[in-house]
């Protein structure tokens, strides 16, 4: 077992473990924190895959901005004090079973049939800011511009919905 595999396993365990913890913790704030751990683990994976830009953006945008926003909202609502009422156990079991079977179905067929295809680790320059920027502003100019529409509508949305009247 080489070091890469080891790190992979560690990061994966961290991601999955934190994700499970996020599900299990009753307190929303703790859930958020666990999720941030997941994001960190994923950023670790990005770095392993030599996608540094994404790794950084992931931390800044997700772990930094978005999760903090979540945290704010939870704090704002003062939800951490009130514990989430337990859901109908049977329904919960059905949920877990069906989600799990989905996973099993996909995994079993994907693992069975695919031949071994290796992933390039720690090499390749596609993930560097320079290259990405180059592509983004040449080939991807239309989506990039259009994404602004998305943000505009999100902005308007926040105004329309958020503004008290």
């Amino acid at each position: 077992m080489n070091i890469i595999t080891l790190i992979f396993i560690l990061l994966s365990a961290m991601a999955v473990g934190s994700a499970v913890m996020m599900l299990l913790s009753k307190n929303p704030v703790k859930s958020i924190l666990w999720l941030i751990v997941v994001f960190f683990a994923i950023s670790g994976h990005y770095i392993m895959l030599n996608a540094q830009f994404l790794a950084v953006v992931n931390i800044i945008v997700y772990a930094g901005a978005i999760m903090v926003l979540f945290l704010f909202v939870v704090m704002l609502m003062n939800l951490n004090s009130t514990e989430e009422p337990a859901r109908n156990m049977r329904l919960q079991m059905v949920g877990i079973i069906s989600g799990g079977s989905l996973l099993l179905i996909l995994l079993s067929s994907l693992m069975k049939t695919n031949k071994e295809q290796l992933v390039l680790m720690r090499v390749g320059d596609a993930g560097l800011i320079k290259n990405l920027g180059n592509v983004l502003f040449t080939n991807y100019v239309l989506p990039f511009e259009i994404a602004s529409v998305l943000f505009l509508s999100a902005m308007i949305g926040a105004v329309v919905i958020g503004k008290k009247n």
Partner: protein
């Protein structure tokens, strides 16, 4: 291309109009002007084959007479929608300019999903389509139903986005060409690889969600019911047919070659949709909710295009978009004026408001699919396409039987309109301007014209 640029720009214009305009109706007139402009530039592009402004999108959008015709239908319907329901938009809340801006952004999304050539733009388009809708759904802030609908729509929409992305990821992974271009997907020969098949199913599911096909339709009744009626009308028509267009565009261009391998899924979904949509609509007491279910049922019919996936199916889809949208916008425009959304609310409408009664009758007949209305022609094209496909003829029989059931709930409204005694104060007569009535009549006439001679629309597909 014109449409993308103009709709986005005009959205921004509308955004500011809310701020600077004094009168509440200014945004409406601006919006109408905008949609007319949009229609015209689109028509110019359709006629000349050249956009006014050219942006090198690196083949990320592909524009042809087919999707331009579709866009013309969409813009035409939106124009009608603005004219009929524009005033009601003003009544939803304060932010009139913003509402119209959001609608223009949705139109931008519609244009994207009608012209995309890469999965990335499909994704962005769908999001641009959806996010303003989440907002519009929740725009009646004081109304708990509206809030609830917005949240439901949002949560489920986000969930389906995740599914779509997973599908895109798998397809990318399984595509040896390492490309997101939908015409550049190497499907290999023979049986699809498991990864490709999984990606396909994920995409199928998320798009089924968008077009509210069973069993991914559950959001539809609640959201359509909870959203302000004027926006329900928009969502149920223009947005829905756009999603369909995206659906068939993807599956035709990307997966058309292996149609046989996923046809069974479509059959299952189609039948389930027809079944659930039609059957559940039967019991509804609220016309609004009934129309929500009926939109599911109509989606079942539109899915036949996906089942058939031939030229006739595409012609039919455009025709269906027009027929279904026109009739639904019309019936919603009348519904909005009602004080009572239950079937009883329509009692005696034919007597108290003959014009409304008559036009509502034509809209409902069109939705049922009675000959010489556009609704019949569109259903007919769908069935024809399905028959031309040559497989699973029984699905045609199932479809027609469900169409017969659909008569049940549409005709209940008809019965209320014509054969029940007049109910007091069914309608705020002050809202019924002459223009409104004339417009309704024109719509009805157009539906009939389209029913008699559908080629006025279809010919543009091959322009």
């Amino acid at each position: 291309m014109n449409a993308i640029i103009f709709s986005a720009t005009w959205g921004i214009v509308m955004m500011f109009s809310g701020v600077f305009a004094k009168s509440k109706s200014t945004p409406r007139w601006l919006a109408i002007a905008g949609i007319v402009l949009l229609f015209i530039v689109n028509a110019i592009e359709l006629n000349n084959g050249q956009p006014i402004f050219f942006i090198d999108a690196k083949d990320m959008v592909r524009i042809n007479s087919f999707n331009l015709t579709f866009l013309a239908v969409v813009f035409g319907c939106t124009l009608l929608y603005f004219l009929l329901c524009g005033k009601d938009v003003e009544k939803v809340g304060e932010h009139v300019g913003e509402y119209f801006a959001l609608i223009f952004f949705v139109l931008c999304g519609v244009t994207l999903v009608a012209t995309y050539n890469t999965l990335l733009l499909l994704f962005i388009g769908i999001e641009i389509l959806s996010i303003p809708l989440y907002i519009l759904t929740g725009s009646d802030k004081r109304n708990l139903k509206s809030n609830e609908a917005a949240l439901k729509y949002f949560l489920m929409g986000a969930f389906s986005t995740g599914i779509m992305l997973m599908g895109i990821a798998f397809i990318y992974g399984a595509n040896p060409n390492a490309s997101f271009f939908i015409n550049n997907i190497d499907l290999g020969t023979g049986q699809l690889s498991v990864m490709m098949a999984s990606g396909l199913v994920f995409l199928l599911i998320s798009l089924s969600f968008k077009v509210s096909a069973a069993p991914f339709h559950f959001w539809t009744p609640d959201v359509y019911d909870g959203a302000p009626t004027v926006f329900t009308s928009f969502m149920a028509t223009i947005v829905k047919v756009a999603a369909f267009f995206a659906f068939i565009r993807l599956f035709e261009n990307a997966f058309g070659k292996v149609h046989a391998q996923w046809q069974t899924l479509i059959v299952v979904i189609t039948v389930a949709t027809l079944l659930i949509g039609n059957i559940t609509a039967v019991f509804q007491q609220s016309v609004k909710r009934m129309l929500a279910y009926s939109s599911i049922a109509q989606a079942g019919f539109m899915l036949l295009a996906l089942f058939a996936l031939n030229d006739r199916a595409k012609e039919g889809l455009v025709l269906y978009s027009a027929a279904y949208s026109l009739a639904t916008i019309g019936i919603f425009a009348i519904l909005i004026k009602m004080s009572d959304y239950t079937v009883e609310g329509f009692n005696g409408l034919g007597k108290s408001q003959p014009v409304l009664g008559l036009t509502a009758t034509i809209f409902l007949l069109s939705l049922t699919g009675i000959p010489l209305t556009a609704g019949f022609q569109s259903k007919f094209y769908m069935l024809l396409a399905a028959v031309e496909n040559g497989h699973h003829f029984w699905i045609v029989i199932a479809a027609v039987l469900f169409a017969a059931i659909s008569a049940y709930y549409y005709f209940r409204v008809l019965q209320a309109i014509w054969f029940k005694p007049v109910k007091e104060n069914v309608i705020a007569a002050a809202d019924l301007t002459k223009g409104f009535k004339i417009l309704l009549i024109l719509t009805a006439i157009f539906i009939i014209v389209l029913g008699i001679y559908p080629e006025i629309l279809i010919q543009w597909l091959y322009h």
